[in-house]
C-alpha cells in the first residue's frame, strides 16, 4: 500500500474532524469514528494529535480564524470593520451549530483567536478608544457574538423538541404566561434580529467612546440592588 500517498497529517485529521462534525454533529465525533472515517485505527490519530481536547481546540481555532478577513484592508470605518467581523462570525457559527458549544466553552487561545482579538482591538484603538475602553469593547463584541449566536443556533433544536413551546403557540398557557404567549408569535428572522443587535452594540460603543455615559435613569443603580 502506498503509505506515502495518503499519509495522515495533523491537517488531514483536523479537516476530517470538521467534516464529521458538520455531517453528523459533535457527539458523533469520537476518536474511533474519526479514525474509521480516515480508514485508520483510532490510536493512529494520536501520532498527529496529542489528545482529543487538543483536537477540539484546533477545530475551534480554525473556525475563529475564518472570522477575520485577511484580504480586507483595515477598513477606514471601524463600525463597518467590526460589524463585518460580527456578521461573519455569526454566519460561520450558524452554518456549524455544533461549533457554538465548543467556541463558548473552550477558552484556549490559539492563533485564530489572537488574530481575531487583535483585529477588533486595533480597530477600536485607531478609532480613538482608550485602551481600557478598547479592552471592554473587545469583550462586549466577543460576548455579543457568542451569546446571541448560541441562542439562535440552538433554537432549531428547541423547536423540534418543543413540548411547552407548542402549548404556548396554541395559547394554552396564556393565563400563566400572558407576555410570551403574545410575543412568541412574532416573526423571527435570525439575520435581521442579529443585525439589530450588532447595530445596538456598535452604537453603544461609539456612545461610550464619546462619553455620553450615564443613561437616563442610570440602570447601573440596579447593580447595587443585585448585591442585596
Amino acid at each position: 500500500m502506498a503509505r506515502t500517498r495518503d499519509a495522515l497529517t495533523h491537517d488531514r485529521v483536523l479537516q476530517a474532524a470538521l467534516a464529521l462534525a458538520d455531517s453528523e454533529g459533535l457527539e458523533a465525533l469520537s476518536m474511533r469514528r474519526l479514525g474509521s472515517e480516515l480508514g485508520v485505527e483510532a490510536m493512529s490519530l494520536y501520532r498527529h494529535v496529542p489528545n482529543k481536547k487538543a483536537l477540539l481546540d484546533a477545530m475551534v481555532d480554525s473556525i475563529v480564524h475564518d472570522w477575520i478577513d485577511d484580504e480586507a484592508t483595515p477598513a477606514a470605518d471601524w463600525r463597518r470593520h467590526i460589524g463585518a467581523i460580527m456578521h461573519r462570525a455569526h454566519a460561520t457559527l450558524l452554518a456549524r451549530p455544533w461549533a457554538v458549544e465548543l467556541v463558548t466553552v473552550r477558552p484556549r487561545v490559539g492563533d485564530g483567536r489572537l488574530r481575531y482579538a487583535e483585529s477588533i482591538t486595533t480597530a477600536l484603538l485607531e478609532a480613538g478608544f482608550t485602551p481600557q475602553l478598547a479592552h471592554h469593547g473587545l469583550h462586549i463584541v466577543d460576548g455579543t457574538i457568542m451569546g446571541f449566536t448560541a441562542q439562535q443556533a440552538r433554537r432549531p433544536t428547541a423547536a423540534a423538541l418543543g413540548d411547552r413551546v407548542q402549548a404556548l403557540y396554541n395559547g394554552d398557557l396564556t393565563a400563566d404566561y400572558p407576555g410570551i404567549s403574545v410575543t412568541i408569535r412574532e416573526h423571527h428572522d435570525h439575520d435581521e434580529e442579529y443585525a439589530l443587535m450588532v447595530d445596538l452594540v456598535i452604537d453603544g460603543l461609539a456612545r461610550l467612546r464619546d462619553g455620553n455615559e450615564p443613561p437616563r435613569t442610570g440602570s447601573g443603580a440596579s447593580y447595587v440592588l443585585s448585591l442585596a
Copy 2:
C-alpha cells in the same frame, strides 16, 4: 434500615447533583458518582430521573428560576427590573461556572426559563415596546447574559492555562499583536465591565423603542457586506 426516612426523591437527586457539580465540577458528575454520593447505586437514580440529560435540564431550570425575584413587585421602572435580572443572572452563573456551559447549550424550556422569559417580556410590553420589539428585546437580554457571562466565567481557567497569554503579558508578541499587547494589561473588574454592558444594552433597547433607529453611519450596511 429505615427506608422511608431518607428515601430518594427527584428533588434530593437534583440537589445532590447541584452540590456535586458545585464542589467538583460538571465532569465529576457521573451517575455512578452521584449515586455513591447519595449512598445508592447508580441505577437507583433512574427511578427518579428518566436519564442524565433530563437531570441536566432540571439543573439548568433550577438555576434559571433563581434569576427572577418572586418577592419583588413588577417594578415601576423597567430598566431597573431588567437590569436587576441581568445582574442576578450574572452573579448566579459566576458563582456556578460549570452551569454556563449547560445554560448556553441546553435549550429545553422548563418552568424556570418560561417565568424568566415572561418576566422580561411583560416588563418590556408594559414599557411600551411593541410585541415585535419585546420579542427581540428578550433575545437581546438573553444573549447578553449568556455571552458575556460565559466569557467571564471561563476566564479564570484561561488564565491558569494561558500559554500564549503569558507571552502577551511579557510583551513577547508585541510585534505580531500590538493592539492586544497594550489592552491586555488593562484593569479588569468583571462586575464593573458587566454593568457597562448591561447599561449599554438597556440604553440601546430604550433607543430602539423610541425609534432613534439608524445609527450614524448605519453599520447595518455591513450586514449586506457579510453576504458577499
